[in-house]
Structures are given as structure tokens and as C-alpha cells.
Symmetry: C2
Subunit: 252 residues, 2 copies
DNA sequence: GAGTGGTCTAGACCACTGA
DNA sequence: CAGTGGTCTAGACCACTCG
């Protein structure tokens, strides 16, 4: 049985990959149903005359794709596709726009040094009221249409001059890297929905109270200290978030 | 040198895990900076007197955490934390609410059989104008406050009776599974921002034109055919999306 | 050609589950 | 207890990169 389920040991395609694809096919075609057990690793190894380590490499691909789950002492079982609360790939807003083929353009509305206030002290977890921040206001446009209005803050250090013309990378990460000698390694983003204020509506050229996304981003350094904060207003009529979910496929 | 960088080969903790954590620590402490090369696999294996396969297992943990990248023929290099367009964990709205400790309650406002229309034919990719759908309207509440209004559609098959009292799992996935003998394995969600219509405002008890999230979900079966569709209206003042990004840590 | 990571083997011992 | 997956070894050969 299973005549076409063969593996070419002399192929340039790795054995573990051929085997993973073979098992993935059986699962996707429903020949192996959720809850069912895969053949044991030893069985598969004997059947295809390959090493058990190679079988394990193949199965580990399926595990990381979320299609099967191994249980020590029991066996390896086909998972039910979990359609919630899983790892997903979220395309960055801006890359999404560029894919469509529009030209993106960032305009710096202003850059200045500001004193701290209670909000910034809370966000950046600092006590010193003399701390000063660099404050940037930028607008992202595509084809002369304004899409995003963004306010960005990072610590001010006298080390480097702030020349507006000198800003190569106006993203929050870029500004932090340019102004303080720190590498942001993690971030937290909060996405909310709101309606445009008068100022936001004016800058983006949309009606007051039009729906907008509000995306706050907080950047952290290696020691989990906040090093940058931004608040971005996205036009609600131009942005949407698309999320794909379910079993990840191996490779493509 | 590096006295504390040791591995206990007799520990219950796997060697590959100890080594992965050791290397992760060096990267997080900045002893290995982005762009720098790790020692070669053979070097590490000799240094700790372990097998190269075990070293590879450790490094593969770092690779899947996105902290390093291996390049055949060249070496293994510490990655720069990529703070955009990466895999992220998106908590499901509802699970998020339950974590806070609120009791969730789903009310079924109605369930009926409807004829198809041009919108449903487009969404479900069908041609037959005689197709009929099951149409559910539900409301999700927490502590007597209405949070989400949802309209759900799935194919109507006469196989099973539709008893409202019989609905155990009112999620879209649950309804699809209950009504047609099909297992949804993947989904596509689109998140948009909008303002509440008159009907939505009435049902959710919010002002007309209040900001809301609109989440459309399309469920697919094994053959990538749409089997369920829902459109959910989330109160904008009660929901937000939090996204963590950057280097994933190994385990906890 | 020397050195790197990528694949693969044929064993071994262990920890865990279930009858 | 027999059978499962989890870890580990000490080799081997390959494909790739770069001088």
C-alpha cells in the first residue's frame, strides 16, 4: 500500500524535508485526522530505511508548524487546528502599503527638545523631573495623501547634534539609534480605535471624529528600560489589519 | 577564562538547553553583539566536550528565537532585533478579557435560515443562488455590559436540526463544526476601524458614531473553501490590541 | 583548498506512559 | 513490564564561501 509514498534518498532535497512534506500531505488530505497518532518514530525509520534521528528532524518540522504534538511515552498525535490565540504574522502597516505599489514619503513636521511631564515620566519610568526629551512630529504620505500622523519621543543626550536634515531613518527605532547609543531590542505596541481630534483631522485632512487607529509603541533596550515612545494616528479609511491563522504550512 | 560559563553534563537539564541559555545570556548581556559571529560549532563542541549535534540543537533554539542566523560556509551570526513585521503573539480578544477575571456570557439574539445574496455569494465563492445559510446573531457580554455584537453565517444543511438551545459553542468555529461535517483548518481575519451604526449603537448601548473595531473572520476547510463567515463589532472603548515584538526568549 | 554550516547514520541510554 | 518519545554521541559526507 501507499505506493506513491516514497522517499528518494539520492535526491538533492533533504530526506527530512521529503518526509515532513509527505506526512503534512497525509494530514492535509485528512488521511491522518486530528487526534490520530502518527506511526512511531521507529516504525517510520524502518519503513523508509532511514535513521530515527532523521525521522525526528522531520517530525520536529511538523511540531513547529503546529500540526502535530509529541507526548513522551505515548506517541505523536495530529493536532486540531487552533483558530485562536496563535502565533500569527502581522505585516507592518507601512510595508503593506509599499507592497501595493504606492510611494511612501515621510515629512518631518518638527523636531525639538522638550521638558519631561508626568505622562512622559510614567511612560519612561523615570523620577528625575529635569530629564529632557527629543520630540519629533512626522507625517507619512503616499501619493500626496496623508496617511499617518506620528509623535515620537526619545531621551535627549547632548552627545549628538539634532539636525533635521540629518535624519536618515525617521522611524522610532531609527531615531532612538541615532540619538542614544542604545540598541532597542524589544517593543510593545498597543492598538486602539478612536476618532480624530481637531488637530489630527486637520493634519490628516479627514473630518473631525472620523474613525482612526491609534498605535502606541514603546521601545525597550537590553535591560528592559524604555528608550523610545511613539503615538501614531492612522486614517481608519486607509488602514486595515489582515491576520491569517491556522496550521502553518512547512516552508511555502 | 570564562570560569562561570560551564555546563553540567550530569544535570537533569538537557545539555542543549543549558548551552542555548548560556549563549542567549551572552547575547542579551551584549557580550556578543549583533553582527558578530558565534564560535564555530566545532569550537563550541570541543570547548564543552560535547557532540557537535548537541551544539547544533542548542543553536537551532537560538535560530527559532530569531537571535542568530546561520549562514552555510560562513558562520553563525547574532541578528539585529527586528522590530517590525515579525511573528508576534496576538492574544485573542476574548481570552484577554477572561484573564482580567470578568465573566463572559454569550447571548444568542437569533438564529434563522436565510437565502443567499450577492454579498454572501462573493464571500463564500459560490454560484448557486439557491444556496441557503444559517444566520446567527450573538452578543458577548461581561458583567452585564455588552461588548461585542456578532453576525455569523455558515452553510445550511438539512442534516442536523437547528435548535438554539442546542448550541454548545456559539463561536464561529463551533457553529461551523456543529452544522456541517467539516473541520475548519485556517482562517483569515480583517480588522478595521469604524464608527457605530444606529443598530450597532442600540445593541451595544453606545452612542451612534462611537469608534468601534470591525473584525471580519472567514473560515476555510482543508481544501481552502470558505465554510464560515462572521462580522463582529467590538466596542472601541473596551478593546485594545497589545503586541509584543523583538527577540523571543528561549522558553521562559 | 581550508573552513564553515547542513545532512545523516547507527547506535546508546534515559524518562515517561499505560497495561 | 514493553513501548514511546527525549537526549546524546562520534563519527561521516556534503554544499557552500572565501581567499
Amino acid at each position: 500500500m501507499n505506493d506513491e509514498l516514497k522517499i528518494d534518498k539520492n535526491s538533492v532535497i533533504p530526506i527530512y524535508y521529503q518526509l515532513a512534506k509527505l506526512l503534512e500531505g497525509q494530514i492535509l488530505r485528512g488521511e491522518l485526522k486530528p487526534g490520530e497518532a502518527l506511526p512511531t518514530e521507529t516504525e517510520i525509520a524502518n519503513r523508509f530505511e532511514i535513521s530515527r534521528m532523521t525521522v525526528r528532524r522531520a517530525i520536529s518540522e511538523l511540531i513547529s508548524a503546529g500540526m502535530v504534538k509529541a507526548q513522551q511515552g505515548k506517541g505523536t498525535f495530529v493536532s486540531s487546528p487552533k483558530l485562536n490565540n496563535v502565533f500569527i504574522e502581522l505585516n507592518d502597516f507601512d510595508e503593506e502599503i509599499e507592497k501595493i505599489g504606492l510611494k511612501l514619503n515621510t515629512t518631518i513636521l518638527g523636531a525639538k527638545i522638550v521638558k519631561t511631564d508626568s505622562r512622559l515620566m510614567r511612560i519612561f519610568e523615570i523620577d528625575d523631573p529635569n530629564t529632557r526629551f527629543l520630540f519629533y512630529r512626522t507625517v507619512l504620505s503616499a501619493d500626496d495623501e496623508r496617511l499617518v500622523y506620528e509623535c515620537k519621543y526619545t531621551f535627549y543626550t547632548k552627545k549628538k547634534p539634532i539636525l533635521e536634515s540629518n535624519i536618515k531613518d525617521p522611524s522610532l527605532t531609527g531615531l532612538v539609534k541615532a540619538n542614544i547609543d542604545v540598541l532597542p531590542v524589544s517593543s510593545k505596541k498597543v492598538l486602539q480605535v478612536s476618532v480624530a481630534t481637531k488637530e489630527e483631522a486637520r493634519i490628516l485632512g479627514i473630518p473631525i471624529n472620523a474613525p482612526v487607529f491609534v498605535a502606541e509603541e514603546l521601545l525597550y533596550d537590553l535591560e528592559k528600560k524604555p528608550v523610545g515612545w511613539s503615538k501614531a494616528i492612522y486614517r481608519g479609511d486607509r488602514y486595515q489589519l489582515t491576520i491569517y491563522d491556522g496550521w502553518l504550512r512547512i516552508d511555502n
